[in-house]
């Protein structure tokens, strides 16, 4: 505690001290401004170069694009000194010119690539932490509408699974170094210095991204309380002085599911219903004659056979993405302006469903005075989604219906009448649902993000001192409008009377209209200082940051609309109308500091620390302190190191602590939540009294309070190695270990239900996450016409629950402790029973017979029950993730191929009721010797019989796969002739494909990234839910694009 107080006071003193020096800082006169760009010997921009006017305290530092502006005294002999660690200092005597370009010598072993790190930048070679980065251009290459789907396999340390292909709702599951906690697993996303910005990173136009950096180890401690799951730093492009560059990029894509489920035909369905009837000893539903009619299709009206996927889904959906940007500026003003328009259509045949994403960005830098630079950034984004009515507003509901749809139902009769849906009316008719006849849901997300920043050189106070501050004001408007329309009637054909029976929909149209507004404000002030002393250089900063978020919402509901046509609240009935509003507030306050020491580019040392204040904890426990230290030794820079083979050789290590406070607030007080109106689709709130029942509200108790709630802490150690051989071969290796403690876990497994309490989460859980990751790259350009590369990366991250609150009565083989987060608790299958004799000889659940799964009596008590379940050693989150790509350029052609894969993951794939994938039916047990799947055990209307539904190892699938993630072929049209006359500096056409195929064990109906095996949540630590396939499937994308630069 004392340390923290001291730390905070020092920071305050430092920042305040800086201000107290202000009066002395403004007297100097400036009469001439010099600006320019600093590059390395190859012309690559160098950021962070110190520019000092010799003999004065004036100076500047180059920005990340290498530009600087500095004020110098008028006339006379003026010399500018340029220095940067790793490069030879250089002095330039100014003549008349006001603009100059300086190339620094040295740094030859490295091209000086600058990487964004927390609250600063660092030359890549001088990194001391485990940091991966990828350029925006590389991300933009994959023609995906959602950035997260392009990242799998792109760099070591990322575990990414695309679990849905739904336009507008396809964010990938994204983990840095796997899962290290039982709590929230989301990495912290920092966009242009602002953590956790509304809208996240998924929908940023990839063309706007300058850098994408991942802080994987304890160096993320600079982001303190939210860094435990890793940190992603994204910077957007800024202006560059010089000629304006105008570029266009147009893409058009066709998308289709990676796999289309093959479902039962009506004959096979009827057959399986009969088999079920036989199993449970009831009268067969279908006669042989009926089965025959389903089989031969001789009576398509009475005995139809519908392939629902084919009937209501398009084979291909269309997607376009058009981007335009303008980048340029002068020494005084630099700008980057861009716009994007993306539209994705859905697979639904009748539907008008679509998603659009519009981005407009302006990043402007103004050199207000020679020492003061002002930045103004603004982004406006609108995401618009039109989906089916609220009843099917979630695509999972549509696919649930589609997977259930009986093949003997008719989509549309030959006379045009629409057939009834599975519920027996028009309400569930997939034709109506996907036509929008059940209404539509409109989602509007509007984001306005602004950032005003100043960067102020205080070199006059002491060289290398600078003050930076920024203020961000972000607005997020959320709009939801869901109208449940009353569909037209549906029909059933009655064979006996040869007539159509009409079924009307009974539920009157209703509308839910909601809006929410979130305002985020963040203020950051940073005082930084950097100076070179001989071979040493020091860099330090202290910063203060505060943020505040206010969320308000308002929603209203009315039913009893007289017509589908007017879809606004005024047209509804006042009977049953409800409305609601709410407010949420949160805030943060943080103190941040870093001290870096670099001796001759050989020994590098960093100290990071952050004290974070979070409102999620009670007073007195609101602040957490997160320190980190990291160091590196660039052995290849030592005098004794002479190798013609190894160009760069660095070892590095880091240790530190990061926090995770992503828990729901106010867990330290007992709350009563008022329940009024409609709680869910099935439940009105409160109670009804009176002969004319009228509703009164009720209270729902929040969880029992926990006054001791505190931070989740990750203590992370990382050892790394960065090497470059033969100029072209790079090799990076990291070994890491992260122990997460104080994880908030619900201890209710140890509390009997009779207490009635949902025990508050307590900081009891411990998870250890360990692993290794490496990347290997080879890049060569043997001639002017030819260049090629090959890259690969590999991540192995394995986690283990070290402590979990489990009752002592839970047998050792069932405990989560000692197993990975999300590992399954399953019965142990031993194949299928083939004969009755074996059934009676072995312990078995009641109802078992030949063709049923045989279970192991694990505890040997002679009965099969819950005690015979055993914890698995794998979960659905892969322990191994890898990617490799290769490509090259020959003259005007270029090509890239990118494979991505995973291993050491498992999933449960089990048939559901109603309808199912053909593979289960085909493989079912019919006679002794059959071994693939059990006998039919799913009956109609979700009935199941016997113990085959137990979640057992029988249904466990190795979820390793290798996917051809992306292939791109491009042709550069050059810049001669016509292009020259059109002032086109370059133009390129390309064709690419995404998710082209994968090698896996999932069969023809399921994608290997099928969701279903949910991750544990605070309330359910070991959910075992099998994959059902009932979701919007992952998409294969075939794309053609054109990019033109003027």
């Amino acid at each position: 505690m004392l340390v923290r107080m001291l730390f905070r006071m020092c920071l305050l003193g430092f920042v305040a001290g800086g201000f107290s020096m202000l009066p002395g800082a403004v007297h100097a006169q400036t009469t001439r401004q010099i600006s320019g760009k600093v590059t390395d010997s190859t012309g690559a921009a160098l950021g962070g170069v110190s520019v000092v006017v010799k003999g004065t305290k004036r100076g500047a530092t180059t920005d990340s694009t290498g530009y600087f502006t500095v004020g110098v005294p008028a006339g006379g002999h003026v010399v500018l000194n340029f220095s940067l660690v790793g490069f030879t200092d250089q002095s330039v005597t100014l003549g008349d010119q006001n603009v100059l370009t300086v190339a620094l010598a040295g740094g030859a072993r490295d091209m000086g690539e600058v990487v964004v790190i927390g609250y600063g930048t660092r030359k890549k070679v001088n990194l001391t932490g485990a940091v991966s980065n990828i350029s925006g251009d590389e991300i933009a290459k994959s023609p995906v509408a959602n950035i997260s789907n392009a990242l799998a396999g792109s760099m070591p340390g990322l575990i990414v699974n695309t679990r849905s292909g739904e336009p507008g709702a396809d964010d990938a599951a994204f983990f840095i170094r796997g899962i290290g906690t039982l709590g929230n697993t989301a990495p912290l996303i920092v966009i242009d210095g602002i953590p956790d910005r509304q809208g996240g990173f998924n929908r940023i136009d990839p063309n706007d991204i300058e850098t994408f950096t991942v802080l994987k180890d304890a160096t993320g401690a600079i982001y303190g309380a939210r860094a435990a799951n890793g940190v992603v730093l994204i910077t957007t492009k800024r202006g560059i002085a010089g000629k304006s560059q105008l570029s266009f990029n147009a893409n058009a894509s066709l998308t289709q599911p990676t796999r289309v489920p093959k479902m039962l035909s009506s004959h096979d369905y009827a057959e399986s219903v009969n088999e079920y009837d036989q199993l449970v000893g009831q009268q067969l539903t279908y006669t042989p004659t009926q089965l025959q009619k389903y089989q031969d299709g001789s009576d398509p009206l009475g005995y139809p056979n519908t392939n629902w996927w084919k009937t209501v889904m398009r084979p291909w959906a269309f997607q376009t993405n058009d981007v335009m940007s303008l980048r340029g500026g002068s020494d005084k003003v630099k700008y980057y302006l861009s716009g994007q328009y993306l539209q994705q259509n859905s697979m639904y045949k009748g539907g008008s469903d679509f998603y659009t994403n519009k981005n407009v960005r302006a990043n402007v830098d103004i050199q207000a005075t020679p020492t003061l630079r002002i930045g103004l950034d603004a982004l406006y984004r609108n995401e618009y989604r039109l989906t089916e009515g609220p009843q099917y507003g979630n695509a999972n509901d549509i696919f649930q219906e589609l997977w259930s749809a009986y093949p003997y139902l008719v989509a549309r009769y030959p006379n045009g009448l629409v057939g009834v849906g599975i519920g027996g009316g028009p309400q569930n008719s997939m034709v109506y649902v996907l036509n929008g006849d059940l209404g539509n849901t409109v989602l509007n997300y509007d984001f306005l993000q602004t950032k005003s920043s100043l960067s102020w050189d205080w070199g006059r106070i002491t060289p290398g001192l600078h003050f930076d501050a920024y203020y961000a004001y972000d607005l997020f408007f959320y709009g939801y409008k869901g109208f449940n329309a009353q569909p037209p009637p549906a029909y059933s054909y009655n064979e006996a009377t040869n007539s159509y029976v009409e079924v009307q929909s009974s539920i009157p149209p209703n509308l839910t209209d909601s809006s929410a507004r979130t305002v985020d404000q963040l203020f950051n002030a940073k005082l930084g200082w950097q100076r070179k002393f001989g071979r040493s250089s020091l860099e330090a900063f202290v910063a203060y940051e505060m943020s505040r978020e206010t969320y308000t919402d308002l929603d209203a509901y009315k039913t009893g609309f007289l017509s589908n046509n007017v879809q606004d609240l005024f047209a509804g009935s006042t009977i049953g109308a409800t409305n609601n509003s709410g407010t949420l507030q949160t805030a943060r306050q943080n103190y941040i500091g870093r001290l870096s020491y670099n001796y001759d580019d050989r020994y590098l040392l960093d100290f990071n620390a952050r004290e974070d204040g979070s409102p999620n904890f009670p007073q007195g426990r609101q602040y957490g302190f997160f320190p980190a230290v990291s160091a590196a030794w660039r052995i290849s820079n030592e005098a004794f190191f002479k190798s013609g083979v190894i160009d760069e050789f660095k070892v590095r290590g880091s240790w530190g602590q990061t926090g995770n406070d992503a828990v729901s607030p106010f867990q330290y007080v007992q709350t009563y939540q008022l329940q009024a109106g409609q709680i869910s689709q099935y439940l009105a709130a409160g109670y009804f009294y009176g002969a004319n029942p009228s509703q009164v509200p009720g209270f729902v108790l929040g969880p029992t309070s926990n006054v001791n709630i505190t931070w989740e802490t990750a203590t992370t150690t990382d050892l790394g190695l960065d090497m470059r051989f033969l100029k072209n071969l790079t090799f990076d290796l990291d070994v890491f270990r992260s122990m997460r403690t104080h994880i908030l876990v619900p201890p209710n497994e140890v509390v009997p239900l009779y207490t009635g309490i949902s025990l508050p989460d307590e900081n009891l859980g411990k998870v250890l996450n360990r692993g290794v990751e490496f990347s290997l790259g080879w890049r060569k350009s043997p001639s002017k016409n030819l260049s090629y590369f090959i890259n690969g990366n590999f991540t192995y991250a394995v986690n283990k629950v070290v402590y979990e609150a489990e009752p002592s009565t839970v047998p050792a083989y069932q405990r989560m402790t000692g197993h990975p987060v999300g590992s399954f608790l399953l019965y142990q299958a031993q194949g299928l029973y083939q004969d009755t004799a074996t059934v009676s000889k072995t312990p078995h659940p009641l109802g078992s017979g030949p063709g049923d799964i045989r279970y192991k009596d694990v505890n040997g008590d002679g009965v099969i029950n819950g005690l015979d379940k055993v914890r698995t050693n794998l979960s659905s989150t892969p322990q191994i993730m890898y990617g490799f790509s290769f490509g090259g350029r020959y003259k005007a052609f270029d090509a890239t191929v990118f494979f991505q894969g995973q291993a050491a993951a498992q999933a449960l794939l089990q048939p559901g009721g109603l309808n199912m994938a053909q593979q289960f039916y085909n493989g079912r047990w019919l006679q002794p010797g059959d071994n693939k799947y059990p006998r039919t055990f799913n009956g109609p209307t979700n009935a199941t019989y016997g113990p085959n539904t137990y979640q057992s190892t029988f249904w466990l699938l190795n979820d390793g796969f290798l996917r051809l993630k992306n292939v791109e072929i491009g042709y550069n049209l050059g810049s001669a002739g016509l292009f020259q006359r059109a002032k086109i500096s370059s133009a390129r056409v390309y064709i690419s494909g995404n998710n082209l195929f994968s090698i896996d064990k999932w069969g023809p109906s399921f994608d290997p990234e099928s969701p279903g095996t949910e991750l544990p949540t605070a309330t359910n630590l070991s959910p075992v839910s099998a994959t059902s396939g009932r979701y919007y499937p992952q998409q294969r994308v075939i794309n053609i694009g054109l990019s033109v630069n003027f």
Binding site: Y544, L584, A684
Partner: protein, 550 residues
């Protein structure tokens, strides 16, 4: 320029100094403990929620129980009833907690204790209310919550036998959990104590518009049912006559209130269930028709597919057969005249409680015959067809068109005078008071339009009362527990039977009938009680599992 610098500096400094205010944030979407327990109106809101959780209805209160007996078949297995009747219930498939909104089981160990905790929180906090001006409200609410806690424990007792009796409010600082199960008798006494505590503060009648609030009658009716169970053979192994006397007294106490009367006649019998809070109703739960709620779609859910209903619970042939001929003789398939026309001349309650083939419903005769609109071979959602050839009509207002608005108002009667009469008759019969027993038994029959029964008393009379309970109280959640307290649960565990109705003429007006097995059922002796979820035994090894479960 200088001013700008100074301003910026000051702004930055001020933001630094305002440190601690920034994180000082209060909950904005919830009420705090202090707020709730300082206002009688908010305390009432808390009580409303206890009602919502404690008063089980329809599926949870009746149909799911009926489908585990010879009353019903559960077409959609919403509560895993079929797991029980197929003999496959284990401590592992009970779940440990269920969402309140859509219970998938009727084990309810978790939800009932969660509700009991709310009652205990109420008792621990109600004292904080200022009694000045609130005295009557406090007394009334306290009495109601005592009744509701008694109701919850009775629900537990019915399912599990004796259970841990929790009266304290557990908090997160408790770390020992070694409650053990109380005996059946101790649990019974605990409930009686709560009822006694409730009675002085309860009103005789609920104010108009507040019907559904617990009253003296509700508490006395609960006592009557509890004491009847306690006197019954399965729990009263020594056949202690004092218990029967107590049961008789408890029933008579309700009757003597003279506040309730039998409602309806042989032709308006069904209105007992659809006329809200009619004079026969002692305690009931109602639903509104505006918002979709747990059970305000029952009219649709119970009705046949041909009317766009779901046929959620199908009446078994055994149940239909239990309804006598209107002359008081038993129905028999071996009587050719009766077998040829099985739905003619029956107990009028059959027509009020069960929709049978050819009976008029919503403007047309029901068509359960093979190929008919309400049959498995219907053109209209045949998967929603009744498997047995019958659906429930009791509690369904057949004048309500659920095709226009599926959210119907609905009433679930927890206690009604008809049951109390039968309770009284049974207790008096066991006490040897044949005349008294017969008079109350026959009051029930007379109202239904059935001839009186006579009996020499003893077993014969008991059998007749059992038969009457089966018919009069069908689908109301009694059969399952009656069979158990009588110790004859296996008698209700036979295979589920239905009817196959085949037309014999082209107009589909004449039929032949054939009884058919709909579901093979397995009987387990353990099934007298529900299993306690395994997680619970693991959490507190002091708890003993019910016999026959491992």
């Amino acid at each position: 320029m200088k001013k700008v610098y100074i301003f910026l500096g000051l702004a930055a400094l001020m933001s630094l100094l305002s440190c601690h205010k920034i994180l000082d944030i209060q909950p904005t979407t919830t009420f705090s403990t202090n707020t709730v327990w300082s206002s009688p109106a908010l305390a009432q809101v808390f009580v409303n929620e206890i009602y919502a959780e404690a008063v089980l209805s329809f599926k949870d209160g009746g149909f799911a129980w009926g489908s585990q007996t010879d009353e019903l078949y559960s077409n959609f297995n919403w509560c895993s009833e079929n797991t029980y009747v197929q003999g496959q219930a284990t401590p592992d498939n009970q779940g440990s907690s269920f969402p309140l909104n859509y219970s998938s089981t009727i084990n309810f160990w978790s939800t009932l204790y969660s509700t009991i905790q709310k009652t205990n929180i109420f008792f621990a906090n109600i004292g904080q209310l200022d009694t000045l001006g609130n005295g009557a409200a406090i007394t009334s609410m306290t009495a109601q919550v005592h009744f509701l806690r008694a109701l919850c424990y009775f629900e537990l007792l019915k399912r599990f036998g004796g259970v841990p009796l929790i009266t304290k409010v557990y908090t997160s600082t408790d770390n020992t959990y070694n409650e053990s199960r109380s005996s059946w008798d101790s649990t019974e006494n605990f409930i009686l104590t709560d009822i006694a505590a409730a009675l002085p503060g309860l009103q005789a009648t609920a104010p108009s518009g507040q019907e559904g609030t617990a009253t003296i009658g509700a508490a006395l009716a609960l006592k009557s049912r509890l004491l009847l169970y306690a006197a019954s053979p399965y729990f009263n192994t020594s056949n202690d006559m004092a218990r029967w006397q107590a049961a008789a007294d408890a029933a008579l106490a309700v009757i003597n209130m003279s506040q309730y009367s039998l409602y309806g006649t042989s032709t308006t019998y069904g209105r007992i269930f659809t006329d809200f809070f009619n004079p026969e109703v002692i305690f009931a739960r109602v639903y509104g028709n505006v918002l979709e709620d747990r059970y305000n779609t029952v009219y649709r859910d119970l009705s046949p597919n041909g009317y766009n209903g779901y046929s959620a619970y199908n009446v078994l042939e055994q149940m239909v057969d239990a309804f006598q001929m209107n002359d008081g003789t038993a129905f028999s398939w071996s009587n050719p005249a009766e077998a040829a026309n099985p739905y003619a001349n029956r107990d009028p309650r059959l027509y009020a409680d069960i929709l049978t083939n050819g009976a008029s419903f919503q403007g047309r005769p029901a068509q359960f015959w093979l190929g008919g609109l309400d049959s498995k071979l219907s053109a209209l959602s045949p998967w929603n067809a009744s498997k047995t050839g019958y659906t429930i009509l009791k509690m369904v207002d057949s004048t309500y068109n659920f095709n226009v608005q599926p959210y119907s108002p609905a009433q679930w009667i927890v206690f009604r005078l008809g049951e109390i009469y039968l309770n009284y008759a049974e207790a008096e019969a066991e006490l040897g008071q044949t005349a008294t027993a017969l008079s109350y038994l026959n009051k029930i029959r007379e109202r239904a339009g059935m001839p009186d029964v006579t009996s020499p008393g003893g077993t014969d009379l008991i059998q007749k009362i059992m038969q009457e309970r089966r018919v009069e109280l069908c689908f109301e959640g009694h059969r399952f527990f009656d069979l158990r307290r009588w110790g004859i649960a296996d008698q209700g565990a036979g295979d589920a039977l239905g009817i196959i109705i085949t037309p014999t003429n082209a107009q589909n007006t004449t039929f032949t009938y054939q009884v058919d097995t709909v579901q093979v059922r397995a009987w387990q002796p353990s099934f007298y009680f529900y299993p306690i979820p395994r997680s619970e035994i693991q959490a507190d090894p002091q708890l003993t599992q019910n016999p026959g479960y491992n």
